[in-house]
């Protein structure tokens, strides 16, 4: 399967992978590769978004994603404003719509939003003229994470089509799994997901994946093994017994990694619970590309902002 890159993105916003065609995904990944070149320069900055304002609206704790967006914005010469709050609009006595209208009044070009509730970026996108970029909404989507994962796989394995990717862990509350399954299956990869049956949401196969309960079955012969963070803070006490038992059945140990292809990639979106879903020997081992994922995150976010701003062609040309 070869996908020709689109010439531009159709939407004003990036609220989810679900809205993207394979051609648009290809364009984003190709553009991200060009952005990577900027990071290798002595002066890591281009004027592509000079005069553009980006509001980073993080209404849920985040370090990696927020810093990654900020670095991306600075490298493109955009002006960034950071707004952090762990609360929701309702806790502050303001509706999401009011928050949105207040932000709009400051005339930003972009709003990058991280929110604990699914759909919040869509509600903003509907109400605002600014481009809305979803930096993770509830258990729904995390599109830039899926794009950076795809970029990492493509660069390490040469292609996405035909790759067998195993994704394991907390499938019910993970936004990373939804975006990844949709993106990878759309680009021709075979996706297997695995997790305790009590954490497998109904109909997840409809997103484009095979469902396994045993981790070993999902990993066998895979090109990529991606572990998901167990969202300890989101768990009730009824989904699985203990962290200890979880590690016993779903922890990625060196023995289990051997079931995958010899040169399989080990990935994790972070932050990791070492000793829960992944053993440190694996996380820090030779097959791990976890830190490269972080590096690629900046390039992907540059590409997203650049393309949503209407950019095309060589971003580096002044």
């Amino acid at each position: 399967m070869t996908v020709k890159a689109a010439s531009h993105l159709r939407g004003k916003d990036l609220v989810g992978i679900d809205q993207l065609s394979p051609e648009e995904i290809q364009l984003l990944l190709d553009t991200a590769e060009q952005m990577q070149e900027i990071a290798k320069r002595p002066i890591k900055k281009v004027p592509a978004l000079r005069g553009k304002t980006v509001v980073n609206l993080f209404m849920e704790p985040s370090t990696r994603t927020r810093f990654s967006f900020e670095v991306a914005e600075k490298r493109l010469s955009a002006d960034s404003l950071n707004f952090s709050s762990s609360g929701t609009s309702v806790e502050k006595g303001e509706t999401l719509l009011d928050t949105a209208r207040n932000l709009e009044a400051m005339q930003p070009d972009f709003i990058v939003i991280r929110h604990r509730y699914a759909g919040a970026p869509h509600q903003l996108a509907r109400a605002l003229k600014s481009s809305v970029v979803n930096a993770g909404d509830g258990a729904h989507e995390h599109p830039t994470q899926a794009l950076l994962d795809a970029l990492t796989i493509r660069q390490k394995r040469g292609t996405l089509a035909g790759q067998v990717v195993a994704i394991a862990g907390d499938l019910a509350y993970s936004r990373v799994v939804r975006s990844n399954v949709i993106l990878l299956s759309r680009m021709g990869a075979t996706v297997r997901v695995a997790g305790p049956p009590s954490l497998v949401p109904p109909g997840i196969e409809a997103l484009g994946c095979e469902v396994h309960y045993r981790l070993e079955d999902a990993i066998a012969g895979a090109d990529v093994v991606m572990m998901l963070r167990i969202q300890l803070e989101r768990q009730g006490k009824m989904n699985f017994p203990t962290v200890r038992e979880y590690y016993d059945f779903f922890g990625l140990t060196p023995e289990r990694v051997k079931l995958a292809k010899k040169d399989a990639l080990v990935m994790h979106p972070g932050p990791m619970n070492r000793g829960v879903e992944i053993d440190s020997r694996v996380a820090d081992g030779p097959q791990s590309v976890i830190l490269e994922q972080v590096t690629n995150g900046v390039a992907v976010r540059m590409a997203v902002l650049y393309l949503l701003a209407g950019g095309h062609g060589e971003p580096v040309a002044d």
Partner: protein, 430 residues
């Protein structure tokens, strides 16, 4: 003597097996005569050519929000919405503040309704004090004050023993216990129907099983006690099939279905990208459930339609999907939504349609309406089966606007609502 003559209507009254062109004469608020041609001397004459005249439509499940939540709706605005939607009577749920769990609140609601002077308003009392699901409320006192049923709606009657006792105790008054069938533990923090759509949208699901479990429990208790069980807003295949089986076993069970559960599915949440006007409880279900509801309506398992009219302020609905309150309004869209779906779409006979909205609700709640027999109160709903209009929330009489049907083009709109011989609502015909 006040005389009102309705001319040239197509009179559809299942209680008399009537579906013919007729004139109707109303004298002093009572049906005086129905005949092919009535001399209108001395009477005010209303030309109803092209309109269907039916016994007044009754909505057995509305939330009027007064006392306590007047910013969402009042008895007056809710009554105005009712008659504008073609309803001559509504039964209002007890989850107000204070809760309608005693005769004083019941009387207050009836006083407010009399002041508004539009639709007939029949309060439903709480099963338990404060809707807490533990102690039985003073049901008899409320019945004496005008309550026609009891329900903790908004919540299930969680304690099975209380449900049992309520089904037993209400036999004294021959009133139904209406249950909002939902197992709270199974619902957990769900906000929409659990299935592939909730998975794709990343929203926590409310399984169909959470409703089925409670319907099954209630049927077992209804069979044990001989009490009358009415299942509110049935939304699942399992609920319908259990009610169907229960009826076959001779259990005194009835059930209602809402227009939105018939006309919409969980796909609406995805299609509208998390529009909070698609959030209600029970949630919009998947295709197979909506199809089972329709089967139940067509085969008679479903006794009546009801809106579960649940007004919420726009500010509350402007929140994140998870945070917005459950509920949509329905009084002013119910008739065309169901007419379009059932009569136009499924070729349901008009008499059956009228039975679902009038004859049957009157029978379940033992209300005086539901018929145009001579001597009955002159409560009539007149609607135009051909009139096509677009749903425009700005024209609603309700104090709230939270409808999932905005912008829909529908047929079968009410044009005149007569309550006790008085024209309570009239829409200009174009």
């Amino acid at each position: 003597m006040s005389r009102l003559l309705i001319r040239h209507a197509r009179v559809v009254d299942p209680s008399q097996r009537l579906d013919e062109g007729r004139d109707i004469l109303i004298e002093d608020g009572v049906i005086a005569r129905i005949a092919e041609r009535i001399d209108g001397k001395g009477a005010e004459v209303l030309d109803a050519a092209g309109l269907v005249a039916a016994p007044g439509f009754i909505d057995v499940h509305v939330h009027l929000r007064e006392p306590g939540f007047e910013y969402k709706e009042t008895v007056a605005t809710g009554s105005a919405a009712a008659v504008a939607g073609g309803f001559t009577a509504v039964c209002c749920m007890a989850n107000t503040d204070p809760v309608n769990d005693n005769a004083a609140v019941t009387e207050f609601i009836r006083t407010r309704a009399a002041e508004a002077g539009l639709a007939r308003v029949y309060p439903i009392g709480a099963v338990s004090k404060g809707l807490d699901g533990e102690e039985m409320a003073e049901i008899g006192e409320m019945v004496r004050a005008g309550a026609v049923a009891v329900s903790d709606d908004g919540r299930p009657v969680k304690n099975a023993q209380l449900m049992r006792r309520a089904l037993e105790y209400t036999r004294l008054f021959d009133i139904p216990v209406i249950d909002h069938c939902e197992d709270h533990d199974l619902v957990a923090k769900g906000v929409m129907h659990e299935g592939p759509v909730s998975t794709r949208l990343g929203l926590r699901g409310i399984s169909a099983a959470s409703e089925d479990v409670m319907v099954a429990r209630d049927l077992i208790l209804a069979e044990l006690t001989g009490g009358r069980l009415h299942v509110a807003h049935a939304s699942t295949l399992g609920a319908i099939s259990r009610v169907r089986n229960g009826k076959a076993r001779g259990i005194a069970v009835t059930c209602e279905v809402t227009p939105h559960h018939l006309a919409l599915t969980d796909q609406a949440v995805a299609d509208t990208e998390y529009d909070t006007n698609t959030k209600m409880n029970p949630p919009l279900r998947s295709d197979e459930h909506a199809a089972a509801l329709l089967d139940g309506v067509l085969d008679g398992t479903v006794d009546c339609l009801a809106t579960d009219h649940a007004p919420h302020h726009a500010d509350e609905k402007a929140l994140e999907f998870d945070q917005a309150p459950f509920g949509v309004i329905g009084l002013e869209t119910a008739l065309p939504v169901t007419y379009d779906l059932l009569v136009r779409g499924k070729k349901m006979p008009l008499s059956r349609f009228v039975a679902l909205w009038s004859t049957n609700p009157a029978r379940i709640m033992r209300l005086p309406g539901g018929t145009l027999k001579v001597g009955s109160p002159a409560d009539l709903t007149l609607f135009d089966p051909e009139a096509r209009r677009t749903v425009d929330p700005d024209t609603f009489r309700s104090a709230s606007r939270n409808t999932p049907f905005a912008g829909r083009k529908l047929r079968g709109w009410p044009f005149m609502t007569i309550v006790g011989g008085k024209v309570a609502f009239r829409r200009e015909r174009r």
